[in-house]
């Protein structure tokens, strides 16, 4: 009997030591993406997770995608506490759009998170039916001045794309002529414009690329300050230089509020290394047509506020 108790105790001690050892050596951080597993954010997160072991002995990132947007983040916030090895993505869609249009959907606020890093930055583009022959902001202004109805295909009725379209045409004074046609995916929206169902579409660059290469659409402008610098759309004018409002699509990696600053700094450093990896940079630029855009807390807050001000100004055009 004594021998049995002794052996059980020894086994328990070994297990405890093993577990403690595991805990000290490397912590696994689960990164929850609240959007579709096939989406841009989920793919970038997966890529980052794959690279994490190459840059850190103490942190392993594990990517997970559970679509559900605010509902997923609600569950995440409810189930986690400070210092849990859990991370989540939020973007301007939740922090700046849903928080104004439908706050009841969100059981969390910005204060529930602590910012780790911005995973990428995407410049949306406005494409036009090739038959309209609109290739620049000047062409677009001339077209808008004709006073005809303007229809724009967007991915989702109250998405970032919808607000960018509303902000652009609204600031051109054509808000009352604007008809936003929501589609259920960005690819559908891109196809709609090439079929002539709508005159324009707002989408990620990668989502319009194929239609553009098949000459179904022209790319009019980019929703950024300056011209697009890289990729197949290099040289496309940014609307910012013409004085029109814009924002980039960003994806913030967040930890639970109250998480140890040291840990957050370690995570930020790891993401920094991953996002500086030449292979990752090349993949983001060439395949995903995204940009590496590491940010500070102040940058994030400025981005959220900028989008909020656009949403407040143009929500009547989008939500009616």
């Amino acid at each position: 009997m004594k021998r049995r108790i002794l052996s059980i105790a020894l086994l328990a001690a070994m297990c405890a030591a093993l577990l403690a050892g595991c805990g000290q050596k490397s912590a696994t951080w689960k990164v929850t993406c609240p959007w579709a597993p096939s989406g841009v954010a989920a793919m970038v997160s997966q890529q980052a997770a794959t690279k994490s072991t190459s840059y850190s002995d103490t942190i392993t990132l594990v990517a997970e995608a559970i679509k559900g947007d605010a509902a997923t983040v609600n569950t995440w916030v409810a189930d986690t506490k400070a210092n849990d090895t859990e991370l989540v993505f939020v973007g301007e869609g939740l922090l700046s759009i849903t928080s104004i249009l439908d706050p009841a959907k969100m059981q969390f606020g910005y204060e529930d998170f602590v910012f780790v890093e911005n995973l990428y930055s995407s410049i949306f583009v406005l494409s036009a039916d090739a038959k309209l022959n609109i290739g620049s902001v000047a062409d677009l202004e001339a077209y808008v001045q004709q006073g005809t109805e303007i229809s724009v295909a967007v991915n989702g009725a109250t998405s970032s794309e919808a607000f960018l379209a509303a902000a652009l045409f609204g600031s051109m004074g054509a808000g009352d002529k604007l008809k936003l046609t929501p589609y259920q995916s960005a690819a559908e929206a891109a196809q709609a414009v090439s079929r002539g169902e709508t005159q324009f579409a707002v989408s990620h660059q990668s989502q319009i690329l194929e239609t553009y290469q098949q000459k179904g659409v022209t790319v009019v402008c980019a929703f950024d300050e300056g011209n697009i610098e890289n990729g197949p759309f290099a040289g496309v004018e940014g609307v910012g230089q013409h004085g029109y409002p814009y924002f980039r699509n960003r994806c913030f990696v967040m930890a639970r509020a109250g998480t140890d600053e040291k840990k957050v700094a370690e995570l930020k450093e790891l993401y920094g290394k991953i996002l500086a990896d030449a292979e990752v940079v090349e993949w983001l630029q060439d395949t995903m047509l995204l940009e590496v855009d590491t940010m500070s807390v102040a940058d994030v807050e400025a981005h959220v506020e900028n989008v909020k001000s656009i949403v407040n100004e143009y929500k009547d055009i989008v939500a009616g």
Partner: protein
């Protein structure tokens, strides 16, 4: 223990025999028509509260559900009308016999399902619910083979482990 189980089963059998004799006959088409007509009316009633619309919409969010409930009401009216006509012309109605024993057994199965659900949810451990489910059904089927208990419980734990550790489902 064995004796207690025998006693319990005996009591259940006696109860089952009693319930087996009890039947309810319902005019099924009439009841279906009325139930779904009420359901459709209720949906139409709550529609303004449940579906917000904007003045800008060409076809708003209420149009499709309203159309559906109208079709449902029409179908219900046809069902009720048919049965009332039969009643007026003294033709036999469409009756359905519901056996109380069957319903009681279905409730017992539902109880096992609900038990599995609530145990998994409250404990946060799916495996607890899975074990309850196995035991519940084995007892429901009055299984006496010990090997079945072992096999089922091992499979239940294995399924949980496969989901939890191999597929990374967190429960």
């Amino acid at each position: 223990m064995k004796q207690w189980v025998e006693q319990f089963n005996g009591r259940m059998d006696a109860w089952g025999r009693k319930l087996h004799e009890k039947e309810i006959r319902i005019p099924i088409d009439l009841v279906t028509g009325l139930a779904f007509a009420l359901f459709a009316l209720a949906i139409l009633l709550v529609m303004p509260d449940q579906v917000a619309v904007s003045e800008k919409d060409v076809v708003n969010g209420r149009a499709f559900p309203t159309l559906l409930m109208t079709v449902m009401l029409l179908c219900c009216a046809m069902l009720i009308g048919k049965e009332l006509y039969k009643l007026a012309t003294k033709q036999p109605l469409n009756w359905k016999v519901i056996n109380i024993q069957v319903e009681a057994k279905a409730l017992a199965i539902l109880g096992i399902l609900l038990g599995t659900y609530f145990l998994s949810k409250w404990t946060g451990l799916f495996v607890v619910g899975a074990v309850f489910c196995c035991l519940g059904f084995l007892l429901y089927f009055r299984c006496r083979k010990k090997s079945y208990y072992v096999i089922t419980l091992v499979i239940a734990v294995a399924i949980w482990a496969a989901f939890r550790f191999a597929l990374g489902v967190d429960f």
